[in-house]
């Protein structure tokens, strides 16, 4: 049973080369889907084991930490792993029909291999307790993301993937420089060991430089305002299944890395007490929330609109963690999970639209409320969750974020959250109005998307409501994770 921790990374990682060896599109797809479902079971089992045994540790190659690489699992990464596995097990069944439409036949095995590598990389980032290992998995996931984004049919996919390659490489390099400086100061790469040794060298100029590199590098990857410029195009022109996968989980994992480094490795006392990180992150998060939502209002393409909304939502997560309180951190972790479900559902619904209409331009949505009722209903339900209507997950995480802000008396933050939510009402409404209240321009009738696409979409939509009503699992885990990260819990 102790091997579960490594298997959850190893299974997708092993599937990637096997996908390349398999012919056609059906076999690689079946294997990848099976792998994703297995990881979902493993993630649930692991969460159960964390509950009964506390923090889990696994020494790779039986080299005891801190010498060897340690995989270390507590509630915080257990929750992220559950999100990753859930999204992957829904997106992969979806990807079969969608990828056959959008990707050349001879590229299919490579597509599934890259998807599995992306998944394994993100899983690895969350699984590991070693700072350098995070970088290795970060590169695995980033390189496969660049390839996946470039697979889009639109030729602009190539330039947007290239731009992300440049920005992403800068981010990863900054992260590596930061880790290198930490290693130079302490002589260790194990996160728990780093946390013990860093207080002795805190306050030196090298440490300040290391933190600066780390934070800027991670924020580039998680697209915090003003480092978000790579994101809108990358999401817009990628294949539908890739957008859903990347939008739902990639940036979330980087938020997790930021939390892990700021709270576990550097310690909240240092990063928020001695360094002015809270102020910097909070200001950027609020500006991002407001400006990205405002920019989203006027986008000509629905995928691009949601991409800007993602930047705003990342703002919520960073805002939560910058409050440096148990409540704020709970809100941040919760929103990480919930927003993964929301954006996954929304992008899958847009993928259905793209499947039938061949475009996600806002103009082309006209009359789709009648032509594709189930798809647009899924979109509206996801939109309600994004806005934060009660009974949806969006409401739960925003509620906790508001509570966290009020707890510290930050009325201005509450107003900013409300304004940003109102803006999201406006941009979702714009799409709903076009889809439902404007007649279809052409005579030819667009058919409803096939069930192979609708069922995965609706599973995620229903998950939005399920976890919005029954919050025991998500809130319980997020609260315990936040308490453990701040060192006040058991």
């Amino acid at each position: 049973m102790e091997h579960l921790q490594i298997l959850i990374v190893l299974i997708p990682l092993l599937c990637a080369p096997i996908c390349v060896l398999l012919p056609g599109g059906r076999l690689p797809w079946a294997l990848a889907t099976l792998a994703a479902w297995t990881t979902l079971v493993l993630a649930l089992l692991l969460l159960g084991r964390i509950e009964s045994e506390g923090v889990l540790s696994y020494a790779l190659g039986n080299w005891a930490p801190p010498i060897g690489i340690e995989y270390r699992l507590d509630y915080a990464n257990g929750l992220v792993q559950l999100l990753l596995a859930t999204v992957a097990s829904v997106v992969l069944p979806y990807s079969y029909r969608s990828a056959r439409r959008e990707i050349d036949n001879d590229r299919q095995p490579g597509f599934y291999a890259a998807l599995m590598l992306l998944f394994a990389g993100l899983m690895g980032i969350t699984a590991t307790g070693d700072a350098f290992n995070v970088f290795v998995f970060l590169e695995i996931s980033s390189l496969s993301t660049y390839a996946l984004l470039a697979l889009g049919r639109d030729r602009r996919a190539l330039t947007s993937a290239f731009r992300y390659l440049i920005m992403g490489t800068v981010g990863a390099t900054f992260f590596l420089i930061g880790v290198g400086l930490l290693y130079a100061m302490t002589g260790t790469l194990n996160m728990a060991d780093l946390a013990e040794r860093l207080p002795a060298v805190a306050g030196t100029r090298t440490m300040d430089t290391a933190v600066a590199f780390l934070v800027v590098g991670i924020c580039l990857k998680l697209a915090l305002f003003p480092l978000h410029l790579w994101l809108p195009n990358a999401y817009t022109y990628a294949p539908s299944a890739v957008t859903a996968m990347v939008a739902a989980i990639s940036t979330k994992v980087m938020v997790y890395v930021l939390i892990r480094f700021l709270y576990t490795v550097l310690g909240a006392d240092y990063s928020f007490g001695q360094l002015p990180l809270a102020q910097v992150l909070m200001v950027l998060a609020v500006i991002g929330m407001l400006t990205a939502s405002a920019v989203a209002l006027n986008q000509p393409n629905a995928k691009r609109l949601l991409a800007y909304s993602s930047i705003a939502q990342v703002g919520y997560m960073v805002l939560g963690l910058s409050l440096a309180s148990t409540l704020g951190l709970t809100a941040s972790l919760l929103h990480m999970f919930n927003h993964g479900l929301i954006k996954g559902a929304l992008f899958l619904a847009l993928g259905c639209v793209f499947f039938r209409v061949g475009s996600t331009d806002v103009e082309r949505l006209r009359g789709l409320g009648r032509a594709m009722p189930w798809t647009m209903a899924a979109f509206v339900a996801g939109g309600l969750s994004l806005i934060g209507v009660p009974l949806t997950v969006g409401f739960v995480s925003k509620w906790y974020l508001v509570l966290a802000a009020l707890d510290q008396g930050w009325w201005a933050l509450v107003i900013a959250i409300l304004i940003s939510s109102l803006l999201s009402v406006a941009y979702i409404w714009r799409l709903v109005e076009i889809a439902y209240f404007q007649p279809s321009p052409s005579r030819d009738i667009t058919r409803e998307a096939p069930l192979a696409l609708l069922i995965p979409t609706w599973i995620l939509v229903l998950a939005n409501f399920w976890f919005g009503i029954d919050t025991r699992l998500t809130v319980g885990v997020a609260e315990q994770a936040a308490a453990a990260l701040l060192g006040v819990g058991p």
Partner: protein, 141 residues
């Protein structure tokens, strides 16, 4: 460059030596400087020289892009299978000690097989990159 006799003759002499040196670096990596990555690049250098002198069509007859992709994936699988074998033998992932009767023997065996996988993947991937680049240049002319 089909007409350059000197280049062709020198390449024919050099390529076997380069390949032999690659194998030396591959199997000596355990005791001295070297290992799978270095050996893979040297091996690929020999093959790339073959592409440059005799043209990629001739090299492709020996090793096609399809085969390269397969071999590259196999290299990763060889690496991972060592880790999985260790788990099946009752150890942890990549724990070489349990691979053979004695821990020392296990460490020897483990690192040799792992480096073989690395070498295979590095050599095939580099050659595949060259094939793809040449194709791109041809098609843009």
């Amino acid at each position: 460059m089909p007409n350059h006799v000197i280049l062709r003759v020198v390449a024919k002499v050099l390529i076997p030596v380069i390949t032999l040196f690659a194998l030396y670096v591959q199997f000596h990596g355990e005791y001295g400087p070297g290992g799978g990555f270095q050996a893979g690049t040297i091996m690929a250098a020999g093959l790339i020289l073959h592409v440059l002198i005799f043209g990629q069509r001739v090299t492709r007859k020996m090793i096609s892009l399809r085969v390269l992709r397969m071999l590259g994936a196999c290299g990763v699988l060889i690496y991972a299978s060592v880790g999985v074998t260790a788990m099946l033998n009752g150890g942890r992932f990549l724990d070489y000690n349990v691979l053979a009767a004695t821990p020392t023997g296990g460490q020897h065996l483990g690192i040799i097989v792992i480096e073989l996988g690395v070498g295979l993947t590095v050599a095939t991937t580099l050659l595949a990159l060259i094939y793809i680049f040449i194709e791109r240049i041809r098609s843009s002319d």
